[in-house]
């Protein structure tokens, strides 16, 4: 009898503690069955008043936000914040990836498709957080400073200026006329002020009046409108930058004009942005429904603990917690696997024997069981990749339309390709194949993938590769200077067009030319033409052809998977799920 009584007391005590300590306001009636006793106890707690503040708390990931300067930002945390406090001339719809008007209300192109005239929205003021509230910025005469075409002209020219030393300037350099000449100017430091000014004036971004901006591009490429909406081409406040120098992005100094504005930035700890009441709101960029967003800078496990403690509304799920979250009745309902515009792939050094034989490269690529890898190793619902360009990007082939394009797991075909390779080389046994080195940068995740794939190669083809790793920066140097037979890399979107993928990475002169040692004239020419093709269906076909060359005909790389983002969101958050990784928080709201 005693034990029963005590167990009852214990259950009630624990329950009372949970009710007291829990922040969930929904607890009203809890029914508990006491083990060994044939009755139920009903505990009723008074429902607390719904006093949830209209504040969203989101984790950005470990480490300080590197910068809030649009000209200097390169990483996802910085770009996420910049995209919420400033808006480009054009803006992507984060769900459909369609190009929509941003600060430019409309635009028109010249006959030759090179020059665009952007007509800006009027009456949007520069704002700042003054310590108590968001206020409009005034100029020397006491008038409200509105965002003008001059601010955009200044922003574009600032990014192209070698003194700014912008990492991402190269995107504008190949798209905007005159930017490359400025960025690449020989002997810039020794030039006179007049020479420098002449080069700056040469950048073809001109404010015709306060609300009309004319930009001339180098080619009439279809993705130009995407590039001109990127963060490096946002309006920048010249007067603050000139007064405060590199410190202009700090809270108190920072000025912005987007749906939110910077309130607080405690380095390495958190950053908050508040609703900008002066943002008028448009169809695709409404006035925010949320008053304030707090971004924490936590490690994935720490952030998930905060989420479970009810201190974060959105958090990524760490791989180690994946199985538990999927099995948990509450958490599994809050779990969403969204897409992320990145591709994970293995590259081949096509000049290093034995990888100089296309049949061997195809055999290795065909022998990778991508679905098996996702199910057993990655566990994040990733999509097996048949080619490089992430479906969803403009003009990228989609698996629905091109189900048989590219490369898929096919052990029989892989063995046939291996046989073709061995016949060509005159080998009679796989042991005669010279050593193949598979290298990755030191990280637990990459290691598990490399081990799984080398195991697949062993099982399907009988080829034993040497798996090795290097520290990140050493690895980057290695694959640029003397890449191993097989190496890994990932690619994430800068702007959602196939050009940013297939061409910028693998065409002649592309990012990974040194690593693949692969130069295909036909492939490059096809992509140059595709950049200018106006008909979307035809254009997509051209990229499909190019992908077929890249991953099958020449098999310069083996695509592995397309990334996903695994996050949990509290049920009281109404949200959109971004397809490109940057959220449009102005479209989110919190239920009271």
């Amino acid at each position: 009898m005693y034990t029963k009584k005590w167990s009852l007391v214990a259950v009630v005590a624990v329950l009372a503690m949970l009710v007291v300590t829990s922040c969930k306001p929904a607890v009203q009636t809890v029914v508990v069955t006491v083990p060994g006793e044939a009755r139920e106890i009903v505990v009723t707690a008074t429902p607390p008043k719904p006093t949830r503040p209209n504040i969203l708390r989101v984790n950005l990931g470990p480490g300080d936000v590197p910068t809030l300067d649009p000209a200097l930002a390169t990483d996802t945390s910085s770009i996420q914040i910049i995209d919420e406090i400033t808006v480009g001339l054009t803006r992507l719809d984060e769900v459909t990836l369609e190009l929509k008007p941003g600060m430019a209300e409309r635009w028109e192109a010249s006959e030759d498709g090179l020059t665009y005239t952007f007509y800006l929205r009027q009456g949007i003021p520069w704002v700042r957080w003054n310590g108590q509230a968001v206020e409009q910025v005034l100029d020397e005469e006491g008038n409200v400073r509105y965002v003008t075409a001059h601010d955009f002209e200044y922003g574009i020219k600032r990014t192209c200026n070698p003194d700014t030393a912008s990492d991402y300037a190269y995107v504008l350099a190949f798209a905007v006329k005159g930017c490359n000449e400025l960025l690449n100017a020989e002997g810039w430091a020794e030039k006179t002020e007049e020479e420098k000014q002449a080069l700056i004036d040469g950048v073809a971004a001109k404010a015709l009046d306060d609300y009309t901006l004319q930009v001339t591009f180098t080619t009439p490429a279809v993705y130009n409108l995407n590039i001109i909406g990127m963060w490096v081409a946002h309006a920048m406040p010249k007067w603050v930058i000139e007064e405060r120098g590199d410190r202009w992005t700090e809270p108190g100094f920072n000025q912005s004009y987007g749906p939110f504005t910077l309130k607080e930035w405690v380095h390495d700890s958190y950053l908050t942005i508040v609703k900008n009441p002066f943002w008028p709101g448009f169809e695709n960029i409404p006035q925010p429904a949320i008053d304030e967003i707090k971004f924490t800078m936590l490690d994935a496990s720490a952030a998930f603990a905060e989420y479970e403690a009810g201190n974060l509304e959105v958090a990524g799920v760490p791989l180690a917690d994946m199985d538990r979250v999927k099995a948990d009745p509450v958490l599994s309902k809050e779990l969403v696997i969204g897409t992320m515009a990145c591709t994970y792939y293995y590259g081949f050094n096509t000049s290093k024997p034995p990888m100089d034989n296309v049949h061997l490269r195809r055999a290795l690529s065909l022998a990778i069981d991508r679905q098996g890898l996702v199910d057993n190793v990655l566990k994040g619902g990733q999509q097996p990749a048949q080619w490089f360009c992430r479906p969803g990007m403009a003009a990228c082939p989609t698996p629905e339309k091109y189900p048989d394009l590219g490369v898929k797991y096919d052990p029989e075909k892989a063995k046939a390709e291996l046989k073709a390779f061995m016949d060509e080389m005159g080998y009679t046994d796989v042991s005669q194949i010279p050593e193949i080195i598979l290298m990755f940068n030191t990280a637990e995740g990459h290691k598990r993938i490399a081990e799984a794939i080398s195991q697949m190669w062993k099982e399907v083809l009988g080829i034993q590769v040497t798996v090795t790793n290097q520290e990140w920066k050493v690895y980057l140097k290695t694959i640029q200077q003397d890449s191993p037979h097989v190496w890994r890399l990932g690619w994430c979107m800068d702007y959602p067009d196939a050009n940013n993928w297939t061409r910028e990475v693998f065409a002649i002169g592309g990012h990974e030319e040194n690593a693949t040692q692969w130069r295909n004239e036909e492939f490059t020419k096809l992509l140059e033409e595709a950049a200018l093709e106006k008909d979307p269906a035809k254009r997509q076909d051209m990229y499909a052809q190019a992908e077929q060359i890249l991953v099958w005909e020449d098999a310069a790389i083996a695509p592995i998977y397309w990334y996903t983002r695994v996050t949990c969101t509290k049920p009281y958050v109404n949200r959109t799920f971004s397809q490109h990784g940057y959220e449009a928080f102005e479209k989110w709201s919190l239920q009271p």
Binding site: M17, T21, S22, C23, P62, G63, D64, P66, T67, D69, L72, T74, P162, D163, A165, S166, D167, A169, Y170, A173, L183, N184, W188, A189, G245, D246, R247, T249, E250, V266, H267, D268, S269, T296, M297, L298, D299, S301, A302, A303, A305, E306, E308, A309, G310, N311, E471, W472, K473, V474, Y475, L476, K477, T478, Q480, L489, G490, W491, H511, E512
Partner: protein, 351 residues
């Protein structure tokens, strides 16, 4: 004693100089640079970046430039023109003239911050955590060691040493998440992550507000960090006490008829603390400059992270800054240890 300190101070300068040279050479010798990215930057951008940070100059010039920025005080007029000219110590002299000293340079990975900022903002947080953790370590470790030592081979001894073994064997990386889970997520008594103190601080690190809002954040990480250290202290105290208690001067003290309490407190304990104080020096330097794992698990915005990420990012000025800072703490802590010896043991004198 005065001459001893001056001599040690001069040695410190030499140590820092040699250390900075070795660190500089190592950072430049390791393959990979600060601007190597997964998305390879075009040559001209890297050239622009290297020119901005003077990385295009010959190594000897880069090194001398660094030494000059760090060690030589300057008197300058007006505000610094850019981040690159800001200093850790900036004293207004007269009119518009400033005395500036110790410019540790910019951070290549956080482009609107300098190493001075990182040390100014992150070091106090690590120091707050470190001081509390070390206090916990001493409060648990020393009494536990004394009891175990005095009651050798009794249940107290075994119990104390079992706890010590447990403390040494369970690392923060296991202990931390368990604490977060139990007290942060399940019971919700303490916030799982975060920090409760904000600048400005008294004496560079003491928070103005020492209320529960500070303690509720500091308790878990400090306990996780302190427990492992307390185990080391306890074992050392016990071993040393057992040795001292057999010394002749203890027998003399007892023979004089001193009460056992005074024998232990005045004679045995004081001498037995010498090995403990010896390890406290480096322990203090290591803990108050930041601990990577603890700060990561508990989301503490301290300096520990920068010791690791600066190397993986090849962020040269941050590597140099954190290493020099750690060296200064180590040398200073050891100096204090040496001075404490003389106070603890009358046989030690520095003349």
């Amino acid at each position: 004693m005065g001459r001893f300190i001056v001599r040690r101070f001069l040695w410190t300068l030499l140590v820092l100089l040699v250390l900075s040279l070795i660190t500089f050479a190592l950072t430049r010798a390791v393959p990979g640079g600060p601007f190597d990215r997964e998305k390879k930057l075009p040559e001209e951008i890297i050239r622009n970046l290297e020119a901005k940070y003077h990385l295009d100059e010959p190594y000897w010039k880069q090194y001398l430039r660094y030494l000059n920025d760090v060690f030589i005080p300057i008197i300058a007029k007006g505000e610094p023109k850019s981040l690159l000219e800001e200093s850790l110590i900036d004293i207004k002299l007269w009119d518009d003239y400033h005395l500036r000293w110790i410019n540790l340079g910019p951070s290549y990975s956080s482009r609107s911050r300098t190493v001075n900022d990182i040390i100014r903002e992150q070091l106090p947080v690590s120091t707050q955590l470190g001081v509390v953790a070390l206090t916990i370590a001493l409060l648990i470790g020393v009494p536990m060691g004394i009891i175990a030592g005095l009651k050798q081979n009794t249940i107290w001894d075994y119990l104390g040493m079992s706890i010590a073994i447990f403390g040494v064997s369970v690392p923060v990386i296991a202990m931390g998440p368990i604490l977060v889970w139990v007290f942060g997520v399940m019971l919700r008594w303490l916030p799982p992550t975060g920090w409760g103190a904000q600048p400005p601080y008294i004496l560079f690190f003491i928070p103005r507000d020492l209320s529960w809002n500070f303690w509720r954040y500091v308790l878990m990480p400090a306990f996780a960090l302190g427990l492992g250290q307390s185990a080391i202290i306890a074992r050392l105290t016990r071993a040393s006490l057992l040795q001292v208690i057999r010394e002749d001067y203890i027998r003399t003290a007892r023979a004089k008829g001193l009460p056992e309490r005074l024998v232990v407190l005045r004679h045995a304990l004081r001498n037995s603390l010498i090995p403990v104080v010896t390890v406290l020096g480096p322990m203090f330097a290591a803990i108050v400059t930041g601990t990577f794992v603890t700060e990561q698990i508990f989301g503490v915005p301290g300096l520990g992270k920068y010791f690791v990420t600066s190397v993986t990012n090849r962020d040269y000025p941050v590597i140099m800054g954190t290493i020099l800072l750690y060296a200064i703490f180590l040398v200073m802590a050891n100096l204090v240890v040496d001075i404490t010896y003389a106070w603890l043991d009358p046989r030690i004198r520095y003349e």
